[in-house]
Amino acid sequence: MNKKLWLVLRWVFLAVVLISIYLPIMLIIVYSFSSERNIGSDSGFGDFTFSLYGRLFQNDLLMEATLNTLGIGLASALLATFIGTFTAVGLYYMRKGKKAVNLVSQVTVVNAEIVTAVGFLLLSIFLRDVIQIPIEKGVLWLIITHTVLTTPYVILTVSPRLNQLNPNLYEAGLDLGARPMRTLFTVIMPQLIGGMVSGFALAFTLSLDDFVVTNLNKGTSGVNTISTYVYDNLKRNLDPAIRALSTIIFVIVLVVLIVFNIIKNKKAKAEQSASKPLGK
């Protein structure tokens, strides 16, 4: 009977873990269809309605924050992917000091984000007041900070792919008459696309998520991302449309994740069938 008890306990444990992970999200999704402004008011759940979704598109500040978030995310992730990939390739073909540079490039990954955030804040002041480069804190500055923040992660995702490459691949390109840059783009880069896509996705999500760096570096001109908008409006009156926005983000991420997995499975299957020799 002990066995049965263990089995039950195992399922209970799993359920508890999963519920604790998804409970907050479920709550948001459920309440995104509520007509109530405040959760836990006397009237309970209120009516089931899509009104919050409509409201979302009428809140200009929230819409702007959303567009900022996406724009900064896309721009910085693209930049980080290119810079990170080039850096990883350069590091890979380095002869001396490879280990040291590798370590230096990864320190900020484990370092507390607040240090980077304050650092950027000081840098902006330093640039403006000491070197007198007119730095305007705002979208452009945020793109720069997010690029710097996420580049190490791209290096981290691209490097393993490089290490798996045939060590003679680069030489083979040169040997067949391609110049170094051409070899880099037509021989090496195509092998790294998987790592670059993962790196881009990681950089993009990190940028979307970021609050610490963003909040200290968004400046005073009223530029907001979703996270800083929510934070700024908590003390006043947070628009309940945020529940709708959260739900939409969650659904998009879920869909992307599912599509990714389907593609990956299909590719794996195709490779499996291709590696079966067809015979002469």
């Binding site: 030489e171 083979a172 040997d175 008459g177 051409r182 092998q191 490779e271 590696s275 079966k276 067809l278």
Partner: protein
């Protein structure tokens, strides 16, 4: 009878040295290769053969010296401008391209002369163009046909077997019509059967195309069966250049004899021309021109020893059979005679423990100059009765002044090896252990990359860390006079290939 004619050198390597992080991989090497030949660079791993090939390809720049292709100095020319192509050991195919596009890669980049035009100044300038799609398709298909992969153009390279991938790599290199095809252990990753097949095909391709092949391998059998010329390398030096038959029948030294084929290598003394003494027995041989009583190494191939019954009146040595193993068409036997264990191949079986006579014909004995008869190092007197050399300080009684540069001569039997590095005066690693009849000749390299030769009764394992102890009474010092600076005269000079 030698005709006076210009040798058609397609590759000419002149006094090339390559140093990687203080280690000399190639040491003042000179070598030329004739157009159209199949030349193999043969040697154990770490002998510098791959580095030499990579310098010809342009992936590695020589530290010193020059490399010429068809008389043109290419030493500083990058690989993408050299008229050579390489087949790599692990294929190095482009995984994102199919077979056709892999082979077409080099062609798409190539520019060919398409005529001349007159520019504004009235000068005639050459006009270049790229290959058309049709031309590329034709060439690629011809190359694929050559390597027997006619219908594989659309296939993903990852779906091919190792042998097929190497064929694609060969086609990819050959389609560029190189003047020289460089092959870096191309069959190393294939299984035995595939390897044999590819050996035959490569030889055939070489004959059909007439392109010069430079082939790197550590497999002596591969070298002997495929090449016109074999270049045996060791420690960055050329040991011998010759036809496969020459390096097998007339090895230049004990290293070549040991590395190529099975052999019995014995120390001996040349009594006079055509007469050599070893294992306390005088033998007739076919070699002459050595100094009287010169110490020599000699090699006897296992198949050149005839096993006779004990009561035979022929045969110079009497021995006892230690082991006999049937190898398909012959028996391989270990026979001990006068303290030496001979390896003998014979079609006649002898029983273990049986006493036999061994007969060696004059043409079965090949005499070689000893590589070295004494260890010679350059050092400096560092104090009262101490001399520094090979990274160590040794107590040697001398009245020479401090700071005097000296040559130190260390006889092979003045060196003792110790299991524990601590017990020796300096440390070293065992590079080679060669049985020479009654003793082993062990080669140990020190941390300063200098070689000690040691005669010892024990066999030492390669790569073992050992201590080196010297018997000071047997050492000899010699003051270096300014003029004798070239202490390391290469024995490989400008050999001919």
């Amino acid at each position: 009878m030698r005709e006076q004619r210009v040798i058609d050198k397609i590759i000419d390597v002149k006094n090339v040295t390559k140093v990687f992080d203080d280690t000399t991989v190639i040491d003042e090497l000179s070598l030329y290769i004739r157009r159209g030949q199949f030349v193999t660079l043969l040697g154990p791993s770490g002998c510098g053969k791959t580095t030499l090939l990579r310098m010809i390809a342009g992936f590695v720049a020589p530290t010193e010296g020059k490399i010429y292709v068809e008389g043109q100095d290419v030493t500083t020319i990058p690989p993408y401008k050299r008229p050579v192509n390489t087949v790599f050991q692990k294929y190095a195919l482009f995984p994102h391209l199919n077979v056709f596009n892999n082979v077409a890669y080099g062609l798409k980049l190539k520019k060919i002369l398409s005529g001349e035009k007159t520019n504004r100044k009235g000068e005639k300038v050459p006009v270049f163009r790229k290959f058309t799609k049709e031309e590329i398709a034709n060439k690629v298909n011809r190359a694929l046909k050559l390597v027997g992969l006619e219908d594989y153009g659309h296939r993903d390279v990852n779906s091919l077997s190792g042998g097929q991938q190497q064929r694609v790599a060969i086609a990819r290199a050959l389609v560029c019509e190189p003047k020289v095809l460089l092959l870096d252990e191309p069959l190393g990753a294939l299984d035995l059967k595939m390897r044999k097949e590819m050996q035959i095909e490569l030889t055939k391709m070489h004959k059909e195309l007439g392109i010069t092949f430079i082939y790197v391998t550590h497999d002596q059998e591969e070298a002997l069966t495929m090449s016109d010329v074999v270049v045996v390398l060791n420690d960055g030096l050329i040991q011998q250049i010759g036809t496969p038959k020459q390096v097998y029948d007339e090895p230049a030294n004990a290293f070549v004899a040991d590395f190529i084929g099975e052999s019995n290598i014995i120390s001996g003394i040349m009594i006079k021309d055509f007469s050599v003494k070893f294992l306390d027995t005088v033998f007739v041989c076919e070699d002459k021109g050595f100094a009287k009583n010169e110490q020599v190494d000699l090699v006897i191939r296992p198949e050149d020893i005839t096993v006779l019954p004990e009561d035979s009146d022929k045969g110079q040595l009497t021995g006892t059979v230690l082991s006999a193993v049937f190898k398909g068409t012959w028996y391989e036997m270990e026979i001990t005679a006068n303290g030496y264990e001979f390896t003998v191949q014979s079609t006649i079986e002898a029983k273990v423990g049986q006493k036999v006579k061994l007969s060696i014909e004059p043409d079965g004995i090949h005499i070689m100059k000893k590589l070295r008869t004494v260890n010679e190092f350059v050092g400096e007197v560092s104090g009262e009765n101490t001399v520094d050399f090979c990274g160590g300080t040794f107590e040697i009684s001398t009245d020479l002044e401090r700071g005097t540069p000296v040559k130190v001569f260390v006889p092979f039997d003045a060196v003792e090896l110790t299991d524990d590095e601590e017990d020796g005066e300096i440390g070293g690693n065992v590079a080679r252990s060669l049985y020479k009849g009654r003793y082993y000749q062990v080669q140990v390299y020190t941390d300063t990359d200098e070689d000690f030769y040691i005669d010892t009764s024990d066999e030492w394992d390669i790569d073992d860390r050992v201590g080196i102890k010297l018997d000071k009474s047997k050492l000899r010092l010699e003051v270096i006079v300014e003029e004798t600076e070239e202490e390391n005269q290469a024995e490989d000079g400008g050999d001919e290939a």
